[in-house]
Subunit: 447 residues, 2 copies
């Protein structure tokens, strides 16, 4: 079934796959173009502000606070259609995409499908050590975290209770650091006095890092500051510590310094140690011969196109772009956003038989939140830590939220959490469908 | 495993099953009592403000906005412990409860377990026509509603598109009326201009009522007003219409006036037509001989106890209480709340060898929201409709939210929705666990 019947033929048709920072900002930039038709395809109907997902996982925000229905952002642009669907293949010779339930022709294709978790060949670790890239994962992690405290409250066996109150975060990039900090903040302050049989502040939050320092992309002195801030919050930071195996009950850890191996019992294990390209990258490589890096990301030209395919762009986390000679750009929201805007402008220039200089990333720096009122910030105009960095982190993150109502909601909930130390969204919600849940309940009573 | 080891023996131990309006307000009232120990058990870790669930289902609010972690509300009371667990049986002779994972002794028991959906013997309708009593159900309904619009946008076949854009709500009490009104509001206003291939305002929202008027518990003139307001919003209201069968693709409807039977094709069918007591009521009946009504609710004494069991109270939706000679009290939040407070006071009086007069419900009236700025209100000091009733509805519902941060969040989101007509939580989130979801994705690409 062709979806072409619903596009008009004459304008230049730009199809964007992915409604994250890259795709959405490209679409938004093109929304004002008169001779261009835009189609944005995403598996989901909303844009997700991933940098704040860890706050959904730790019960401080609701998914709706950091997600914006794509139609709310660009759906009202007259030249734009939004389709909820999944691309499974492409034919670059025919300029055609194949979706699960149809096909679509394009003049220009923009692939912005992001990344997923990399378990380095150990995909069996995924069920026991979930990562944090989607709303569903954040809610599952939330469920596990708060269920662990509830079960510990009822658990008389001290060994089992200890495992329930041990939380391991594997990977100390910004995601792992922010997750560990929020967990420790909650255990030591947020849940204080909420339980009678356990003392939540006895919970162990362990942050494991394979490299020799946390936040390796930050300058050394900021890594050191972040480690101190985390330890001050109650996180146990272990560097040079590699996870050799993960199971239902804990992690086998090897110290890279002395090769000592130990098993650490924990009920809740969270993965923040690696990402790899979404499956669309491999499809591109198969169909266009595009080269991939070791994480499966597409190595792109200076203007973000696929080699020998000037009408196919790859942007955001799924792309590997570097300014000549430099390291490749990291998978950050501002990178994806700037690439999306660049591509949109380049497409418009081309329609007027013009072009643009190669893409240049305007790097303002990076930030990572440590806890309630501390962060580290490595910005172009200086390095900051502590409360100052935290204020900057709050400001930037609210600014980047794409919808004003989300900005207001997040601001208010943060103000509330800050003063009361209460997370307003600490709900344990079921994984199952409602029917499965009620069947479980009924058989429990009849048993 | 006995959970008794974690209770102290000497204070009077009140065990409350259920953290809804009845149980939570009873626990809160007892939280100040010195010679009483309180244990509140709930299957979930949060109290849910059910009257606003339909707003989660229609994408206007997030679950976290209307749910309060029970520990946040009462967990810090020194005499109160909160346990997340499920009661499966009881022994009234031994004053003992059996949970899925332990047992617990009590001196006074308060059963406040609420109700679930009644499909009148047609439980096979449940998967195709979900009801609205839990967060999971609200999210599932939300998923179905917004997926229907997304699929319609891609559907070229006009018959299939019509079915996708047909929504049937079965049951026209306050829940059904509010759901139908919110659906129509969204189709006719909220989603306007968000789609290109479909016109959401062409969606049919059909409200089916078996009785001869909607809102049968309200006075006739308010029922009539509500029907007019709903029709003004674009809802098709059909009274004397009974659902004879529900399947994947629609509903078989019989008109009770002329016995005419027709099949109405619809992808999204929502159940708001009946409730029955939670399973705990039957456990009580089996173990204590407590009489049940036709919906399985426990018929209670004038002081809300079970006949011949003065230390077992039943309150809220799962109880059937009537002032002498009157009809039984409806399943409303203020009823449950007042009963909870009464029981707490009675227990405290008894410890001082005193008692209280029988329970008396202080009825201030009922309200039902129709749409963006209309409602009907049947209050002690008068009947209201339209905008005035709507203001009252907003005020009362915010007042009843038990946590201030929820009150503020809901107020802001309502103000936002009111002026922009945008719902901020229109997310389609997956039912599956994250692992199942990613497996589906990978096999799709390889296919």
């Amino acid at each position: 079934m062709s979806l072409d019947s619903i596009t008009t033929q004459s304008p230049h048709h730009v199809v964007i796959i992915g409604g994250g920072f890259g795709g959405l900002h490209a679409a938004r930039e093109l929304g004002r173009a008169s001779s261009i038709k835009v189609t944005l395809i995403d598996k989901r109907n909303y844009h997700l502000f991933q940098p704040l997902l860890y706050q959904v996982a730790t019960g401080n925000l609701s998914p709706g606070d950091i997600a914006s229905p794509i139609r709310s952002v660009i759906g009202q642009n007259k030249n734009t259609q939004v389709l909820m669907g999944e691309v499974v293949d492409l034919d670059p010779a025919e300029n055609k995409l194949y979706l699960k339930d149809g096909e679509l022709s394009y003049d220009t294709l923009v692939v912005a499908t992001g990344v997923t978790h990399h378990y380095f060949g150990n995909d069996n670790w995924a069920p026991v050590a979930p990562g944090l890239k989607t709303v569903e994962e954040a809610l599952e992690i939330r469920r596990r975290i708060f269920s662990a405290f509830e079960k510990a409250e009822k658990e008389p066996d001290l060994e089992k209770r200890k495992a329930l109150l041990t939380f391991i975060v594997i990977g100390a990039g910004p995601t792992g650091v922010e997750l560990a900090g929020a967990l420790a903040e909650m255990a030591h302050h947020g849940l204080k006095d909420c339980f009678h049989n356990i003392d939540p502040s006895e919970a162990t939050v362990l942050l494991l890092q394979g490299a020799d320092r946390i936040l390796p992309a930050f300058p050394e002195d900021l890594s050191k500051k972040a480690k101190e801030e985390l330890e001050g919050l109650g996180v146990t930071v272990r560097t040079n510590a590699r996870a050799m195996n993960i199971d239902d009950h804990g992690v086998t850890v090897k110290c890279k310094v002395d090769n000592h191996i130990e098993y650490i019992g924990a009920t809740t294990i969270l993965w923040a140690a690696g990402v790899k390209a979404s499956p669309m990258a491999e499809v591109l490589a198969n169909r266009t011969g595009a080269p991939l890096d070791r994480s499966g990301r597409v190595l792109v030209e200076p203007n973000l196109t696929v080699r020998d395919h000037p009408n196919i762009f790859v942007i955001g986390d799924v792309a590997n772009f570097s300014h000549q000679g430099d390291e490749s750009l990291p998978g950050l929201a501002p990178v994806a956003q700037q690439e999306g805007v660049y591509v949109a402008k380049l497409v418009q220039q081309r329609l007027q038989a013009r072009t643009l200089a190669p893409f240049r990333y305007s790097d303002h720096g990076t930030l990572a939140m440590i806890g309630r009122n501390q962060a580290v910030a490595n910005l172009t105009f200086g390095k900051f830590s502590g409360f100052t960095a935290w204020m900057m982190w709050v400001f930037v993150h609210i600014l980047f939220l794409i919808e004003f109502d989300n900005q207001l909601l997040v601001l208010i909930q943060w103000a509330w959490s800050y003063f009361t130390r209460q997370g307003g969204a600490r709900l344990i919600t079921d994984r199952n469908s409602p029917e499965e849940t009620s069947i479980e309940r009924e058989s429990a009573v009849q048993a």
